[in-house]
């Protein structure tokens, strides 16, 4: 992919989307990788006891998909500085979820090209299950 420069980023432009189709297997892999033993993510009986429609995707896994979307966009020469997410709803294994983002602001601080974005995650039921913001730095042309 062509290298992204700060000068090429326009306020209002959209970040290339990241589409995910979480499976129970992926949730188990995440539970193991993060040592998060919460049963609502892999035990249907437990999830239903907690009045959930079924096992649900980990909130932090969804946050990490935003990181993946951002790092794929900015490349290895950019840095993710900050993300902030508000959890608004649940996503279930079998759903198709899409991470999206849009540039809201760009400025230079201490010579670094900073870009602020709004980010959100939607599923095929047209629900936005996360709303958030992110700040990245992107290299400038010499």
């Amino acid at each position: 992919m062509a290298r992204l420069y700060f000068e090429d980023v326009e306020v209002g432009s959209e970040i290339p989307v990241l589409v995910k189709k979480p499976t129970t297997k992926q949730l188990v892999n995440w539970a193991v990788a993060t040592q998060d033993p919460a049963r609502i993510h892999y035990d249907k009986d437990r999830a239903q006891m907690m009045k959930l429609p079924g096992t649900v995707v980990h909130g932090l896994l969804k946050c990490q998909w935003f990181i993946q979307m951002l790092t794929t966009w900015i490349g290895d020469d950019g840095d993710v500085k900050k993300i902030a997410c508000r959890f608004l709803g649940m996503d279930l294994p079998g759903d198709t979820v899409t991470c999206r983002g849009r540039v809201t602001k760009k400025y230079v601080v201490d010579g670094e090209g900073c870009v602020e974005c709004e980010i959100w995650l939607g599923n095929e039921r047209e629900e936005k299950t996360i709303l958030g913001i992110a700040t990245v730095t992107i290299p400038q042309r010499e």
Binding site: N29, V32, C85
Partner: protein, 170 residues
Amino acid sequence: MDKAEKTAIVEQLRKKIGVILEPMLFEVERGAIKRFVEAVEDDNPLYWDDEYARKTRYGGVVAPPGFFGLPLGDVPGAEINPDMGILVAPLAQNLPGMADIMESAVGGTYEAEYYRCVRPGDVLLTYYELVDIVEKEGKLGPMVIFVFQQTFKNRINRLVGRVRATLITY
């Protein structure tokens, strides 16, 4: 748990606000980074391929933002309750009553700032803190919101990252 019991526990927990717990130490393992990115299904070779990573400005494999060395097999003394997330577990062992309250907690917000990249072999210290307890009337009834902060530092006491998360209980 009835309302009076919960109120009593929350009052106990209030005494812990602002207390930074004994730090926990994690060594960042290469394999743990790989398992993490495999679970995310993020195929950037920067996180596992030496040859590729050497040619980047990092000069070697790094962890993605969001990976702070957690987890590692043996967290000294940690008893992780299967009904709580990892963020709460280290607090629960030090905060009596936390486990009972957290059984039905849901994530409210998650904010993370990344100051330095994390590499295999790094040793990170994690400081946990209960920052605040906020009681509010929500759409589903009275809520108690817990605000936690985790600060990650390296061995020379430089900030590596900071995470602030809220958990909502009804």
